[in-house]
């Protein structure tokens, strides 16, 4: 016995180039779709993780553009304005606040970084309160500075790697030409802390002649509290703005949402084009086999049998294309990640494209469903072929 599946499969092999091109068309749309959905999930997960790893839920900084502030916070750049550290006392009074940590971000120009120089940024922190805010920070070597007035530094994993530093080595702050002793090197966190050099807050304030000024206060809330009242209260403080990390996430997601919508539209168009390609391929194949289909009906095939045969061909093309597209997406996810990082204004650490089994299955089901819908018309048309018309089509009497 030969099954309908085998008949359908062998029909596709009749025009290998055409079938292959159709499958590649579907594969490319599937690749775009899986990569995009993987990126949507990966970006959000990585961003959430980055934000969680910041340790704070709210940040206070001097008034300025929220978009710039938000992205600069996460990119580890300098703040634009300064606040007086007396604000810390006011913040601590609020009932919702559990812990706070003051931070001063400063930067210098290093002319000896590459051809045209670069920025070297430093975070001035209080070791005790900063460590309490981020208990998950672990050390590869050494530990935090113990003297808040010392010239000691703790380096993020990648910062230490770039400078080839170990505990006990010295680093030099360009422009100011001040030396620091490395007392700690952090383990990799996958956040912007990896590229950061931490020094004691008081030391940095002295170096930059900002004895009472800070750029940011990181705030951790007590468990289960609603931050709305606190945010309103904090806004009453003069010349500050309150950035909730949830807000930061929203801001950044908004920044890229336009791009996401555009890319999603392109993916949908790609799928529609692939669907049209499938319909065209199957319809052409049906017209080419007009007589043959007529003969199949002559020898006993019901319209439903013909419908099934043609529909199976569509299904095979879509499944093959879908699987191939998924393989492309998974195999090239790293390259997609790199490409995305080049294009995006801000990219969190960690994998930007996260493709898991659930996503693969959902996408495959979607593609198969679309394929089945697109196969209905050609299959129905084939089922309606009348054997006599088909036979008469060639032989004339």
């Amino acid at each position: 016995m030969i099954t309908k599946f085998q008949v359908a499969y062998k029909n596709l092999l009749r025009k290998k180039v055409r079938s292959s091109l159709t499958i590649i068309g579907i594969a490319l749309s599937a690749w775009v779709l899986v990569s995009l959905l993987g990126f949507n999930r990966g970006y959000e997960n990585s961003l959430n993780r980055d934000i969680d790893n910041m340790g704070f839920q709210l940040m206070i900084m001097a008034k300025g553009c929220p978009y710039e502030a938000a992205t600069l916070m996460l990119k580890g750049g300098t703040g634009l304005r300064y606040m007086d550290e007396s604000i810390v006392k006011d913040v601590l009074k609020e009932p919702e606040v559990d812990k706070i940590t003051p931070i001063l971000m400063s930067a210098v120009f290093d002319p000896n970084k590459g051809e045209s120089g670069g920025i070297a940024a430093y975070f001035g922190v209080e070791a005790k309160s900063f460590a309490e805010m981020k208990p998950f920070l672990k050390f590869r070597q050494g530990g935090w500075f113990t003297d808040e007035n010392s010239n000691e530094a703790v380096m993020g994993f990648e910062a230490a790697e770039l400078e080839q530093r170990e505990v006990g080595d010295m680093i030099l702050m360009p422009e100011k030409n001040i030396q620091f002793k490395v007392v700690g090197i952090l383990n990799r966190t996958g956040t912007q802390d990896d590229g950061t050099i931490f020094v004691p807050l008081k030391t940095l304030q002295k170096i930059f002649n900002k004895p009472t000024e800070i750029t940011t206060i990181g705030i951790k809330l007590k468990k289960g509290v609603d931050s709305t009242r606190l945010e309103v209260a904090l806004y009453r403080l003069p010349d500050v703005q309150v950035v909730s990390l949830a807000q930061v996430k929203d801001t950044i997601m908004k920044l890229i949402s336009t791009a996401k919508v555009m890319v999603l539209s392109i993916a949908i168009i790609a799928i529609l084009i692939a669907v049209v390609g499938v319909i065209n391929t199957i319809l052409t194949s049906v017209w080419e086999r007009f007589q043959e289909i007529g003969i199949l009906k002559t020898i006993g095939a019901m319209p439903w049998d013909i419908f099934q045969l043609i529909w199976m061909e569509t299904l095979m093309l879509c499944v093959s294309g879908g699987i191939l597209g998924v393989i492309f997406a998974v195999a090239l996810s790293k390259l997609t990640d790199i490409a995305m990082r080049r294009v995006l204004p801000y990219a969190p650490g960690g994998g930007l494209v996260q493709i898991d089994l659930k996503l693969i299955i959902v996408t495959l089901i979607g593609i198969i469903f679309i394929g089945l819908i697109s196969g209905i018309y050609p299959a129905w048309r084939a089922g309606r072929i009348r054997p006599l018309e088909a036979i008469r089509g060639e032989v004339s009497r």
Partner: protein
């Protein structure tokens, strides 16, 4: 029931059919090989890129711009990634350390550090190489790039990054000029630990005596760079290399 006999003639002999079948398979072979090639290319890109994300290497910040500047007569370049681990493992590491006259130090100078070698072309002809190494300096990492011709002679010296008050002097073109024309042979007498040397290397002047540690680090980086290029490229191209141990 009477069996209907075979027709008398007009058959294709079975052998001809087998021939047709084997012809079809032979026609398919190049197509199968092409498909396999594409799959291998994808896997290669994946593996190479994964490998490059291990320990930190030393790449040009802007290869297009930097290659054109360092090798003005070039029209293009190709990038090769390798490491001591890949090229020869522990045995090669031991050879390199012996030639260097010093062990590899610390947590950053390891057997799996990736090295990026830029092969420089003028049209289709290879004309030289650019290769950089990281070296621990007094206050930060130093990235030392050598521009080499096909015989392994230095024709350019470039410190891409250095952290020092006196970095400008060591990054100045005048300092780099002292390295032009030198080869691995010249550095074979240079002791990276004591800083003692003879011949052409002895003639290299330190423009920043206050940064003696960084000056010695730059020389160590240069010697290491030349040894690695000799092991990775020039020996493989069958050019003999000086193997004398440094004088103490």
């Amino acid at each position: 029931m009477k069996t209907i006999s075979k027709p008398a003639s007009g058959y294709e002999p079975a052998g001809q059919s087998r021939q047709m079948l084997s012809l079809s398979i032979n026609r398919m072979k190049p197509k199968l090989l092409a498909v396999r090639g594409v799959i291998l290319a994808f896997l290669f890109i994946l593996v190479v890129y994964t490998a490059a994300w291990g320990a930190v290497g030393c790449d040009l910040n802007d290869p297009d711009r930097d290659v054109a500047r360092l090798f003005p007569e070039s029209t293009g370049y190709k990038t090769i990634y390798t490491s001591i681990q890949k090229k020869g493992g522990e045995k090669l590491l031991s050879t390199v350390e012996t030639r260097l006259g010093d062990k590899f130090h610390g947590i950053y100078e390891t057997i799996d550090v990736p090295y990026t070698i830029y092969e420089i072309f003028a049209n289709k002809k290879k004309i030289g190489y650019i290769h950089g190494v990281n070296q621990k300096g007094q206050f930060g990492g130093i990235q030392v790039f050598l521009v080499l011709d096909l015989q392994g002679t230095i024709r350019g010296f470039y410190i891409q990054k250095m952290t020092s008050q006196y970095a400008a002097k060591l990054r100045d073109a005048k300092f780099g000029k002292q390295f032009i024309g030198l080869t691995i042979k010249d550095f074979s007498h240079y002791d990276v630990i004591s800083g003692r040397s003879s011949g052409k290397v002895e003639a290299i002047k330190n423009p920043a005596p206050e940064a003696e540690a960084d000056f010695m680090a730059a020389l160590r980086a240069t010697k290491k760079n030349l040894i690695l290029m000799d092991e990775f490229i020039y020996s493989a191209e069958a050019s003999p290399s000086a193997q004398e141990a440094p004088k103490k």
